[in-house]
């Protein structure tokens, strides 16, 4: 508890690791505290093909290199922790963990990222791993020559549906609206695939089965009609929520619980910055998270210099 870090970064996704690289390379005493897996949603991305300067690669590999870079510059990383308390006001910021440990720093960068949105319907937890999946590239081959359903209408849903056609005999996309949120090229790829069919304006209500998933109850959101579809598997890709539940009464957030920052990634609390998928912004990409993280670290450096 006695050690006071210059910069404490909460989160080790693209934004947090970028902050860690910049801050530790500037010889600031830097600590990253991370509640989830190092790499955040980069690890959840099978392939990254649009990161400038990097040819097509695996998400976990980019995350691994960022982690190595940060550590080599002297950044300390503590992951798989649970934060119990935030004290962000004042010159010294304090973070208390559930295991009783406390850490303090002169500045904090909030980079908790996002978490996959859950359906929270009956059967989702029960059939996780026995029919309900969140990763086509991980679990797709368990469904070879079987019928599967994909829930969602964004880029992930449509791209993963196309991936699943490499294994499954039939893929049905169930989406709540009458149009997709995905980019046009992803929609076109899905629409031209003969193995993919669509059920629009419908939402899942329940997953049913015995030891493994056997069917999904779906409701048409316009007519209210319920129907039960037999299936071997369901893949859920319904987007992400900012991971800011614990922060919403501590820093200023908008109605979507996204942290409000200025162009320098400053929050409403002096010495507290935010970066990545947790902030108010339109585009959430690895590139934009890295940019946010970089700006937050540089702003933290400036803040520390002015506070000296």
């Amino acid at each position: 508890m006695d050690e006071v870090y210059d910069v404490m970064i909460l989160g080790a996704g693209a934004a947090g690791l970028a902050s860690g690289i910049y801050s530790s390379r500037a010889r600031l005493n830097t600590l990253i505290l991370n509640e989830g897996a190092i790499g955040g949603q980069m690890v959840l991305t099978n392939e990254i093909a649009n990161y400038p300067g990097v040819e097509k690669t695996k998400g976990y590999m980019v995350a691994g290199i960022m982690k190595k870079q940060a550590k080599e510059f002297g950044c300390k990383i503590k992951s798989n922790i649970k934060i119990a308390q935030y004290k962000l006001k004042g010159n010294i910021k304090i973070i208390k963990l559930e295991d009783g440990l406390s850490f303090q720093a002169k500045s904090v960068i909030l980079a908790p990222g996002g978490k996959p949105r859950q359906l929270n319907i009956p059967g989702e937890e029960q059939f996780k791993g026995t029919g309900v999946s969140y990763c086509a590239t991980c679990d797709g081959d368990f469904f070879t020559d079987k019928d599967v359903i994909v829930i969602g209408g964004g880029n992930s849903a449509l791209e993963e549906a196309v991936t699943l056609t490499n294994y499954a005999s039939k893929v049905t996309i169930v989406h709540q609206f009458n149009h997709f949120q995905a980019f046009e090229h992803a929609v076109r790829e899905a629409e031209k695939n003969t193995k993919i069919s669509f059920i629009m304006e419908s939402e899942p209500r329940e997953f049913k089965g015995n030891k493994v998933l056997e069917s999904v109850v779906i409701q048409n959101v316009t007519t209210g009609e319920l129907s039960e579809i037999k299936t071997d598997g369901v893949f859920i890709f319904i987007g992400y929520l900012p991971n800011t539940d614990a922060l919403k009464n501590i820093v200023k957030t908008n109605e979507l619980n996204e942290i409000i920052v200025d162009a320098d990634m400053k929050t409403n609390i002096p010495g507290v910055f935010a970066a990545g998928d947790c902030i108010v912004k339109k585009y959430r990409q690895v590139t934009t998270a890295v940019a946010d993280g970089t700006i937050a670290a540089l702003s933290a450096m400036e803040y520390l210099k002015s506070a000296d």
């Binding site: 989830g36 897996a37 190092i38 790499g39 690890v43 959840l44 991305t45 099978n46 695996k58 998400g59 976990y60 691994g64 992951s79 798989n80 649970k82 996780k128 791993g129 026995t130 029919g131 309900v132 999946s133 969140y134 990763c135 590239t137 991980c138 679990d139 368990f142 469904f143 030891k211 493994v212 598997g233």
Partner: protein, 115 residues
């Protein structure tokens, strides 16, 4: 042949798996790939290696026939999500879980079966 890029020791053969589980009282093996559901489990195991000296932690590639003692285990029947996480007590498989598990969930299984 090694298939996984993690700091956790990788078991490469069924014979090695049998030897390890027989020679150690408490063993956890995560059998998977380098995928988004698997990597967080390996990360958690890497940390648990320091915190739980009473348990030996290993990973094993899913796409090898050498992993068949895990992939074909009765406890893993019906599993359709990677990784398969299996727990051995005195050489016997006592628990198996499928798909991603966080550190807390892994610790909870260990506390229940390795006490």
């Amino acid at each position: 042949m090694k298939m996984l890029e993690t700091a956790v020791h990788e078991i490469e053969t069924a014979a090695e798996l049998e030897k390890i589980t027989k020679e150690n009282e408490n063993v956890m093996v995560s059998c998977g790939r380098m995928g988004p559901m698997c990597i967080p489990v390996y990360d958690a195991m890497e940390e648990l290696e320091e915190e739980r000296p009473d348990v030996k932690f290993y990973v094993m590639g899913f796409d090898t026939p050498e992993a068949s003692p895990i992939t074909n285990a009765p406890m893993c029947r019906g599993f359709m999500g990677l990784p398969f996480n299996v727990y051995y007590k005195n050489g016997q498989m006592v628990k198996a879980t499928t798909s991603i598990q966080d550190k807390e969930q892994i610790v909870s299984v260990m506390d229940q079966f390795f006490a």
